[in-house]
Amino acid sequence: MIEAQGLTKRYGKTLAVDDLSFSVTPGKVTGFLGPNGAGKSTTMRMILGLDNPTAGQVRIGGKRYHELHHPLRTVGALLDAKWVHPNRSARAHLAWMAKSNKISPRRVDEVLETVGLSAVANKRAGGFSLGMSQRLGIAAALLGDPEVLLFDEPVNGLDPEGILWIRKFMHRLAEEGRTVFVSSHLLSEMALTASELVVIGKGKLISQSSTDDFVARASENSVKVRSPQLDVLRDALTRASATVAAADDGVVVSGLDIAKIGEIAMDNGVVLHELSPQRGSLEQAFMQITGDSVEYHADLEAEARQALAPTAN
């Protein structure tokens, strides 16, 4: 259980995280979704007590991170797979972590086995591929058999096989009753991995809901219609206050139920060649919802204004 209340982080003039409140419950995978630069990593670092919040607080099972006794046994985290000394072996990396929280050395071999790195345990971590580094990071997160797990962009740069492995792995962890909080900037990935979503943009909470709700709300449903009497139908639909847009060989109708469109066609005696629902892509949906809060949009706008502004003095 992770609870954030009014979490705020300011770097000089930039507000990286702005009054963020959300909660993450055990037993399911909760996605932490937002465009790049939305403040996901900063939030994760604050959960782990690495960065100090400017205001607000975040608690794990009711405690602040630095109040946890042997924190690796309560919270496991993979923030950056490259946070390993390149000349240290995978085993030595896990050995010192285990030692620090009085975790049995046997556990090191167990987690190496779980992530499939036993064969390269004594090899230097600097020579690992990205996928292997991610696995080592996951092994480190699992070391203390924690109830709460945080993963920051765990599938970034992985091949499809690696992505699938991580996705299944998260589901398994959640099924075991753990709290799994995983960040990503890809909604399509989150739709497959997470059942709950915390969505942020520019450091502010946009929504917290189930993934299905978010996707349904996000993708505006539209219907594709093809007909030899398109002109008649277009007028009829427009009168019914639907939005009609031309598409290759037909029209795309939005703002009207698919059944209603069929009825209108029937009433007007219009022959239909196609009447099919169009799911907007998840990426489009995501863009729609977070559109206003994407960092670089604002920059572009400001730049454009500057370029267009008449030279005043």
């Binding site: 690495l50 950056d80 390993v84 050995a95 010192w96 030692k99």
Partner: protein, 255 residues
């Protein structure tokens, strides 16, 4: 104890400390061999001469100590460390203790290897350790290495970047301290209280280990007015203050 064991695993599971230890030993012993091997009537071998090269090893030790901290920042393992041990003060104190202990061991080995080497090269010279000053001059090297390692670790914690921390330490200890003497009228007064000059006072005292050799013929003696005992206390105190500042800073900072 757990935290010390953690830092020991971390320090000794990479190769750089081993290389640094080897380089410290080889450079210091090599320099000692050159000096002692070429001693003559005008520049006789003394106990002080056998430790002539200690500052070369010292530079290497400070690089080792600074790197032990800055590589943690460089590779992000400091965050993993603070994740495992959220009490940053204890974590950093344990780290510094382990580094200092390693420096002590390397220092003692280096000092006695240099002394033994000198005995082999100049069997007829009086190199026996038969006074407190002689003992301090040889066995004290490890202590100076350990305290210098604390200084270097503290600078590493404050600066966080390898290149920055190392150049700061090297430029200060090898150049800045002696250049301060060139400041007119007050330069010498300031120099008397600069830490590495004071550390030298602890090792060399008033030249007792130089056994009758003309003072101007050996390594220049420290200008510090402190007694060797107080000189050690002053040097250790300086390191402790620097470490306290570094740890306080690290606690407040975002990791």
């Amino acid at each position: 104890m757990t935290l010390l064991a953690v830092e020991r695993i971390k320090l000794l599971s990479t190769r750089s400390p081993w290389w640094c230890a080897l380089v410290a030993l080889v450079v210091t012993a090599g320099f000692t061999a050159l000096v002692v091997g070429n001693a003559d009537e005008q520049f006789p071998a003394t106990v002080a001469t056998t430790q002539f090269g200690y500052s070369f090893g010292l530079a290497v030790i400070m690089v080792l100590a600074a790197l032990a901290v800055t590589t943690e920042y460089r590779f992000g393992t400091i965050r993993t460390t603070f994740q495992a041990i959220p009490h940053r003060g204890s974590a950093l104190l344990a780290k510094t203790t382990v580094i200092a202990a390693l420096a002590l061991v390397i220092g003692e080995i280096t000092a006695f290897v240099c002394w033994g080497l000198s005995m082999l090269l100049q069997p007829n010279a009086d190199l026996a350790l038969n006074s407190t000053a002689d003992w301090i001059n040889v066995a004290g090297v490890g202590v100076v290495y350990a305290i210098s390692a604390v200084i270097a670790a503290a600078v590493g914690i404050l600066v966080r970047h390898s290149a920055g921390a190392i150049s700061l330490l090297m430029i200060y200890s090898l150049a800045v301290e002696s250049l301060v003497q060139l400041i007119p009228s007050i330069g010498d007064d300031i120099y008397e209280w600069l830490p590495f000059n004071v550390a030298n006072k602890f090792l060399m005292g008033d030249g007792g280990s130089n056994s009758g050799r003309a003072a101007d013929a050996g390594m220049p003696l420290s200008t510090s007015p402190l007694s060797p005992g107080w000189a050690l206390a002053y040097f250790a105190g300086f390191a402790a203050v620097l470490l306290a500042i570094a740890i306080t800073t690290a606690k407040k900072r975002d990791a």
